[in-house]
């Protein structure tokens, strides 16, 4: 009898040891990927909405401004979902009997709200405020992506805590002039795409937009300020030229009085 195990068993034994190790590692990797996967975050998913509303068509095609529908973005924590009336304003005249818009007309007639599905849905214990972001130079597109290119709405980003922190720890890389907040096509400054900014004399007590002025064309004889009525433009001398997001970002951090990463990454900023 002697041998209990066959010759091959030695090799087998060693192999199985190695395999176990590999499996453990694989498991870890999978879980790590899983928690960030769209399956969990819904990133990029397009839920079935009562009406297949196309931001692309309305924003890019018709040039409707963000605030036209999302009225309170600048004044409240909540950007606002347009009431049915906002749709009807136009659709009382155009596409009055398009099949697609039936639910809208229904809602208007019956007084029942359109049950939209939240695309950007934060956990209930997260307190996000649109107003402060919009007033401090974070553009819509920074979080929501190129909405003007989305036929159907989806979440561009994971909206996970690590994603929020990524910016809260270094806002400079996403800051843009408040005048450019709603500019979907805004791109970071570059040598061929410079930005000129100037700081007003009176800064404190003034809303950010009025204390700093930025323009995307050489301020000179004829100034095209996107930020303020031409009257408010400051003397040419004061303008500083920026050719990279980094420079601009840090300039804006200083003059928009953005709080320090330490403050912005503190728990109570988002959780109460």
């Amino acid at each position: 009898m002697a041998q209990i195990f066959d010759r091959s068993s030695n090799a087998l034994a060693r192999a199985s040891l190695v395999l176990t190790g590999l499996i453990v590692i694989a498991l870890g990797v999978t879980l790590n990927e899983l928690q960030r996967s769209p399956w969990v975050t819904r990133q990029g998913q397009r839920p079935d909405q009562p009406v297949p509303f196309s931001h692309k068509h309305h924003v890019q095609g018709l040039g409707v401004q963000c605030q036209y529908c999302h009225v309170t973005a600048e004044t409240s924590s909540y950007a606002g979902i347009p009431p049915t009336k906002t749709c009807i304003n136009c659709h009382a005249q155009i596409w009055t009997n398009a099949q697609l818009l039936e639910p809208v007309r229904q809602s208007w007639a019956t007084g029942q709200s359109l049950p939209w599905i939240k695309v950007h849905d934060l956990p209930d214990y997260v307190y996000f405020s649109h107003e402060i972001h919009v007033n401090k130079g974070i553009g819509c597109a920074s979080c929501h992506g190129r909405v003007d290119q989305m036929p159907l709405m989806y979440a561009q980003n994971t909206l996970q805590m690590e994603w929020c922190l990524d910016c809260h720890r270094n806002p400079a890389k996403n800051l843009r002039p408040t005048s450019e907040i709603y500019n979907m096509a805004w791109e970071a400054p570059a040598s061929d795409r410079p930005v000129w900014c100037a700081v007003g004399d009176e800064q404190s007590g003034l809303p950010t937009a009025q204390s700093v002025n930025c323009v995307t064309r050489e301020p000179g004889v004829e100034v095209a300020s996107l930020g303020m009525p031409a009257s408010g433009v400051l003397p040419q001398a004061k303008y500083e030229k920026f050719t990279s997001q980094d420079e601009l970002g840090h300039f804006l951090v200083d003059h928009y009085k953005i709080r320090t990463p330490n403050e912005l990454a503190s728990c109570e900023v988002c959780h109460r």
Binding site: A2, Q3, F5, R7, R14, S266
Partner: protein
Amino acid sequence: MAPREGTYGLLAEFDTPGDLIRAAQQARLDGWRRMDCYTPYPVEEVAEAIGFHRNKVPLVTLIGGLMGLAAMFLLEVWISVWAYPLNIGGRPTYSWPAFIVPAYEWTILFAGLSAAFGMLALNGLPALYHPLFNAPNFCDGATTDKFFLCLEALDPKFDLVEAKKYLQSFQPVSVVEVEY
């Protein structure tokens, strides 16, 4: 490795550790090197007899321990000072006294695991199949109350007939040939 063929070695069985040690010492004096002894419990003298004095287990353990220490302490410092610095009850982010404890535990953990698995690895275990198990008397004795000396065929001095004679000279209980 391709299964070898032929003789693995000659196995001599003894009743007492004393006999085994004597035989082993003699064999080593006579220039045998590829040999090994098998006992049901640790007998230090035997290992000495076949000239096995130092092993690498302590070194492996030391390295393991140091790794554990470094790993945990660095992790702690990275987390508390760099990754997410928070004001915890007014304590400084680099609260090294607090970091000592987990680092200490991991030192022991890694050292311990290295000691155990290092030993097994150095012993080439697991080795579920071994030629010696072919020897009829080995299994019953080696782990209970018999003491074995094995001269391996790989030894340059090895010659089946000679070796058998040589082993007989120690008046073992038996001498058997072990196949691969």
